[in-house]
């Protein structure tokens, strides 16, 4: 814990924030996207925006694992969970995500579906061992961080001959999502979103390393600073981005050197390469179909692939009409731009996925930041 507390030191934070304010050019605005939900959470949890000058703007990116899963895949999971003889294992955040019609894994669980919340992929394997007469479906979601643990259990299941264990694979890739955002018409042509730089993922980068980001630094001329999830990491990364922008540089810099190597975790990458292959295209909530942005299980592990073992229809379902999660995930809109934010859509009754996970922009903003809007309304009313 001492090690963690060192990265939450308020005095040091004020010093870095002071330096950032000094170096940031008052004649311009800085638009920085934190890709990861972990950063979104840290920014709101620690009130980092309070320490920054007003012309540095943080834009929340799509890096929230449960937020980007499209409605169709969620509906598939709900149907799988209701299939007789199936135990669906899922990470906790996933359970409350609502479909457009308001259904969720938690709701079908209360109506009798056997759904188990697990903390790690190996628990799903244990459940398979303990229930030989049931078929286990592990709802695998997430970016490069959660992919290696899924690869491990698939390999173990094969070794153990656990024929009742399957994985419904929804793993997605970070670099292709960032490229997709930078290629989107809103940024390229319309100029609706200004993006001057990225705070690069923390945990994802421990796996993939810092090299994969070099492509779009080169291609799009936007600086990337990889940062840890602690608040000092984030504020230091912001200072590093401001410096790059001021100096007209666009480089990959690594603030998170205590965990991220240029080549990443080669053992984990090899595991993933053994078990998974690229999908030609995959739908992301908010981003639409993104080419080569997700993984599927290789044919040599087809026995453990829920998509091979079960009838899983390709569903393309629209989001709730009023929900702005899509635009928010692309950084085009802020949660407060959404008409139903904080009124119809709240953490108690989420309409969109961004309101469910603590890594989602709407939930983070609702839980930690909405009082600022009230304060500014008060101030405006007072004038």
């Amino acid at each position: 814990m001492k090690y963690i507390e060192a990265f939450r030191d308020g005095r040091l934070a004020r010093k870095i924030a002071g330096q950032t304010a000094k170096e940031a050019d008052p004649r311009r605005h800085y638009y920085l996207m934190e890709f990861c939900g972990g950063h979104t959470h840290a920014i709101s949890r620690y009130g980092i925006a309070d320490l920054l000058p007003a012309h540095i703007h943080m834009i929340h990116g799509p890096g929230c694992p449960v937020c980007v899963l499209p409605m169709g895949r969620l509906e598939n999971a709900i149907q799988l969970a209701q299939t007789p003889g199936v135990i669906l294992c899922s990470y906790g955040d996933m359970l409350r995500i609502p479909t457009a019609k308001g259904n969720s894994l938690l709701k079908v669980k209360s109506r009798g579906a056997d759904i188990r919340m697990i903390y790690s992929s190996s628990e799903a394997l244990d459940i398979a061992r303990q229930n030989p007469d049931k078929c286990i479906v592990f709802l695998a979601i997430g970016f490069e961080t959660t992919t290696p643990p899924t690869a491990v259990v698939i390999k173990q299941a094969q070794k153990l001959g656990l024929s009742n264990f399957t994985v419904f694979c929804n793993h997605v890739l970070t670099p292709s999502a960032i490229s997709h955002i930078l290629l989107s018409p809103e940024i390229r042509q319309l100029g609706l979103v200004r993006l001057d730089g990225f705070i690069g993922p923390a945990h994802v980068s421990t796996v993939i390393g810092s090299r994969p980001y070099e492509y779009f630094v080169e291609e799009f001329q936007k600086p990337v600073v990889i940062a840890g999830f602690e608040p000092l990491d984030v504020i230091q990364a912001i200072l590093m981005l401001v410096r790059q922008i001021n100096e007209g540089r666009a480089e990959v810099e690594n603030e998170f050197t205590r965990a991220v190597l240029p080549h990443g975790n080669i053992k984990a990458q090899k595991l993933v390469a053994d078990v998974f292959e690229l999908r030609r295209s995959f739908e992301w909530r908010g981003l639409g179909h993104v080419p080569y942005s997700a993984l599927r299980i290789k044919s040599c592990f087809a026995d453990f692939d829920a998509e091979q073992r079960f009838e899983i229809p390709a569903l393309s379902l629209p989001d709730h009409k009023a929900c702005e999660c899509g635009a928010i995930l692309r950084g085009v809109k802020h949660p407060r731009d959404c008409k139903i934010f904080g009124t119809v859509c709240t953490p108690d009754n989420p309409i969109g996925s961004c309101m469910v996970s603590s890594e989602g922009a709407c939930a983070a903003y609702f839980r930690y930041g909405r009082f600022r809007d009230n304060q500014s309304q008060h101030e405006m009313a007072g004038h």
Binding site: A13, Y46, A49, D50, L51, T146, S357, E359, Y368
Partner: protein
């Protein structure tokens, strides 16, 4: 008068607490139930009220303001580091009674037992309840037992109701929190929730953390004696300190500003929360209280709390502010501010 527990029943075997289990007949109103009551509950809770063997307990009241609180207790596992469902079911209700500044007088206990519960476990639970009630001391003066079929319960559910008497000059109620008041906590937060979770889930790490389950009657009695004008008392159980503070803010129509660095959290709780992606502000406590008092009373109240074994880590964690939105805000250690909101449902671990 000889206790009925000492009578020998020649026609029936004594309960087998070593290998026996709760059976449906233990709730059917017949001889087996009478035997369970006699050999277990009467023996453990023994007092004059129970010995009358009526369907109800009668007692005289001395007038004045009484309080009554009821609480149902369900917990997995039934036995956890630092306690069990038995003592928890006494502490929980007693703490609700004493949060009005009251002196607790009587308890009732209702049991729903699941068929198959080992009688040995039930005995441990009942004896733990009896011990918890005896130290206060508050007699358990009436009770009830039902048995449900296997699969319809979770071992044992216990509902307790408590009655207490409020001293004349004490008016503790959450709507009395006023801007300028200070907010105090009696000790480290999150101990119970994390201890139970670590006992329940098979995590790859261990700790010596224990639940803080305790009866706060004595702490409250010294606090009320020192500062009869305490505005609010609340025990932050389910939903943690965050939920309790939001309730007070809403009921009093005020806001709050907390200071993260002043909130006492054990390193083990902090570490487990880090690991699981939880926030200790939302983790349950069973032996802590939040107090709100006027600024001029704060030092005296804090000193009184710190002088008591259950309040030795007490701290002033924030203050009541004027805010028509009743937001509970926290100044983070880092220097920023955020809202400490209600939780929706359970805390769920983060994925990334």
């Amino acid at each position: 008068m000889q206790s009925s527990a000492n009578k020998k029943h020649a026609y029936t075997r004594t309960l087998d607490f070593k290998t026996g289990c709760v059976e449906m007949m233990h709730g059917s109103g017949g001889r087996a139930m009478a035997q369970l009551i006699d050999q277990l509950f009467m023996t453990a809770f023994d007092n004059d009220f129970l010995r009358q063997m009526n369907d109800q307990a009668s007692f005289t009241s001395s007038g004045g303001r009484m309080v009554m609180a009821t609480d149902s207790h369900v917990i997995t596992p039934l036995f956890f580091p630092g306690g069990d469902i038995g003592c928890l079911s006494v502490h929980g209700t007693i703490n609700d009674v004493v949060m009005a500044g009251a002196k607790p007088l009587y308890l009732s206990a209702g049991f729903i037992l699941e068929e198959g519960l080992p009688l040995g476990d039930l005995k441990r639970i009942v004896e733990s309840m009896a011990a918890a009630a005896r130290v206060i001391p508050v007699p358990i003066i009436t009770g009830d037992t039902k048995v449900v079929e296997r699969g319809s319960g979770d071992g044992v559910f216990i509902t307790t109701t408590g009655i207490g008497m409020i001293p004349e000059n004490v008016f503790i109620s959450s709507e009395r929190a006023k801007p300028g008041d200070n907010i105090l906590i009696s000790g480290t937060i999150g101990d119970h929730g994390i201890a139970v979770m670590l006992a329940r889930e098979d995590f790859a790490f261990q700790s010596s953390l224990e639940s803080d389950t305790a009866s706060l009657h004595d702490l409250v009695s010294v606090m009320v004696e020192a500062v009869p004008g305490i505005h609010v008392l609340r025990d932050p159980t389910r939903g943690g300190v965050a939920a309790a503070l939001n309730e007070i803010a809403q009921q009093s129509g005020t806001g709050m500003m907390l200071f993260e660095e002043r909130i006492p959290v054990k390193p083990a709780v902090s570490a487990a929360c880090e690991f699981l992606g939880f926030d200790p502000m939302y983790v349950a406590n069973e032996g802590k209280l939040i107090a709100v008092c006027a600024p001029e009373d704060t030092d005296k109240l804090l000193d009184t709390m710190r002088a008591h074994p259950l309040g030795c880590n007490a701290a002033v964690i924030g203050e009541i502010i004027a805010d028509s939105h009743s937001f509970v805000q926290m100044k983070t250690r880092f220097g920023g501010t955020h809202v400490v909101d209600w939780l929706s449902g359970d805390q769920l671990p983060r994925i990334c």
